[in-house]
Symmetry: C2
Subunit: 398 residues, 2 copies
Amino acid sequence: MFFSSQKIGRWKTENVPVWGALNRVLAEDLIAEEDLPRFDRSAVDGYAVKAEDTFGASQFKPKTLKLTSTSEVKKGEAKQVWTGNPLPKGSDAVLMLENVKLVGNSEIEVWAAVTPGENVSKRGEDVAKGEVAVKAGTRLKPHHLALISALGKSELMVFEKPKVAILATGNELVEAGEKLLKDQIYETNRVMLASLCHEVGAEPLDLGIAKDDVKEISEKLKQGLKKADVIITTGGASVGASDLVPTVINKFGKPGIIVHGVAMRPAMPTALAIVDGKPVIVLSGNPVAAFFGFEVFARPLILKMLGIENEARPVVVAKLTRRTSTALGRKTFVRVRVFRRNGEFYAEPISSRGSGIISTLTKANGYVVVPENREGLEEGETVQVHLFDKLEVLSENV
Amino acid sequence: MFFSSQKIGRWKTENVPVWGALNRVLAEDLIAEEDLPRFDRSAVDGYAVKAEDTFGASQFKPKTLKLTSTSEVKKGEAKQVWTGNPLPKGSDAVLMLENVKLVGNSEIEVWAAVTPGENVSKRGEDVAKGEVAVKAGTRLKPHHLALISALGKSELMVFEKPKVAILATGNELVEAGEKLLKDQIYETNRVMLASLCHEVGAEPLDLGIAKDDVKEISEKLKQGLKKADVIITTGGASVGASDLVPTVINKFGKPGIIVHGVAMRPAMPTALAIVDGKPVIVLSGNPVAAFFGFEVFARPLILKMLGIENEARPVVVAKLTRRTSTALGRKTFVRVRVFRRNGEFYAEPISSRGSGIISTLTKANGYVVVPENREGLEEGETVQVHLFDKLEVLSENV
């Protein structure tokens, strides 16, 4: 094999074909065992020559070289090559077609000089033997798969997708598509959380909906703990009469709930627990709160499990279109719609009264974090927007 | 059903479950047929009251209300509610728990006044009846799926994934994992192009590798035209002796090749054709040229087929760390590594001599477009970087 590798990290790994490795996270340093390219090759279509034979050539004072079809280029000779062809023995540069005129079938006129190495991809220029071609912890994108293929690798060791079991709780919840009775609402958070898991590279396992019932919640959590690496619940997280999830979790043993309530808005009632050595993230039933609870607690956890230290959402620096007020003492996640107009980026805060208003997410494409020690942001203030959806480009004069 | 929809566009559509709709493109305007929420509901845990009963209440001058367990809140009464509960008849606001003291089991002391509507999510506040909840042409993200679920929808009409057949040509190409002979190289572009298709929402079909042979290329292209909506080839695109693809395509009939050679770098030898009414994009065999040829020609085409007008890659405005020179008369795609340090974004050009050097892509995370009328970019110049991989965050003092 053209390859050696070094496994890192403690998370479970598996082998996958390169063709199925998009967005997976590499679990080994891929080290080139040979130079890439493996030989000096032409970077253009043209003629391989000895560079010194072209010195002084110009359109007004062309030099003439003899075409050869042997495997070696000798003094005064040139040999036709196409992009990617190995550089013929004896040659050290390539003339581009546009700087050459073919004279009959046996000679070329050279209109421009080349320096040694010009238009040549040197052996090892892409990746030198012994170099790390792709580092462990890399989220594999199309270009990584190209480089890995170039090194001859058809299978890779990647981190297993952490399995995340997702449970919604609430007597009022009904599965979308089914019939709704009075005072009931459709359950919205499982598919959202499962999709957020997919986006970050985890494998969601659906535990369905549990009633506000100790036994039913316990049963579902047990199932989740058996099959998954992480549990996420949504609903029943605060201190209301029917908010049973923290109570049930604490019955599973120590340490149980280790955090209950966080100084952020939305998602204040979020709780964090450890059960059977597995992290349990107890999110609010409010969809917007569940979204930001996932963003702040589940996303970094999953990335960490995947060996990724540093994968921020894309950030855009933008000007706030109007003032927005937030509460002191709480880190506030303000949903904004960021757009580009005439080359400038603007962020428009999406106003809302409750964290149950899902359209504040669908009208937004990013969020701004307002620190605890501020009561809001001013109109015209420069903010960093974390994008969770695509950027809009409006009228552009550029 | 809780729903009506309006189909748009001419591209083929299919129905998929909401659970499988992440990143698919909605083919119908989803219009709410009922208000969401369907009833006024409490946005917090607390007590539902008539707001006017609380006017003038403060910590120093609390007001007392009587708890009721009937379905209606009358003057002077309060009823306990949890987040999401329907607002009881007669009440028009909710007191938050923290502003209330329970006195015995039958009364509360109110420490702060509320205004009518306070802490209430009004019926229709999220999406009003008749409003478009999610527009056709939307790429569905986790939060869209939450909103769609909230409206009771479990299946959606989305645009079919355009099928893109991918063919690599070249006598020198060997499948990764197989044995390499002298002067051969591993084929790198099919998996990269297939992955780029996945990212943008198309379904790649692999046609494999064809030798530089008219018959073999013809056969493979025929297969592709039968099964796919778009054909992408890589290799054999320029005017070299073995660059047969344009020649073969022109034999398939009119119009055949309509563009051959574009004023951009890399990807100059790109050709565009129409065969049997289907677009054929003939990319260079150089991986970096193939990447940018896809970016400029295939990506917008696929997005257009999916009904998406405007889906830019994330853009970051950054300062160039050093000068980079480009050729006049060609739109140049300079690969850069953009990173954030102390809240500022910088773009470092990745230098390279050839478009065959794949590591110029893996070392980069974005590109800057240098227009035809410039010979390069200056150190310190402000540029817009189009991100194709994640942003790096280095030391941050913020």
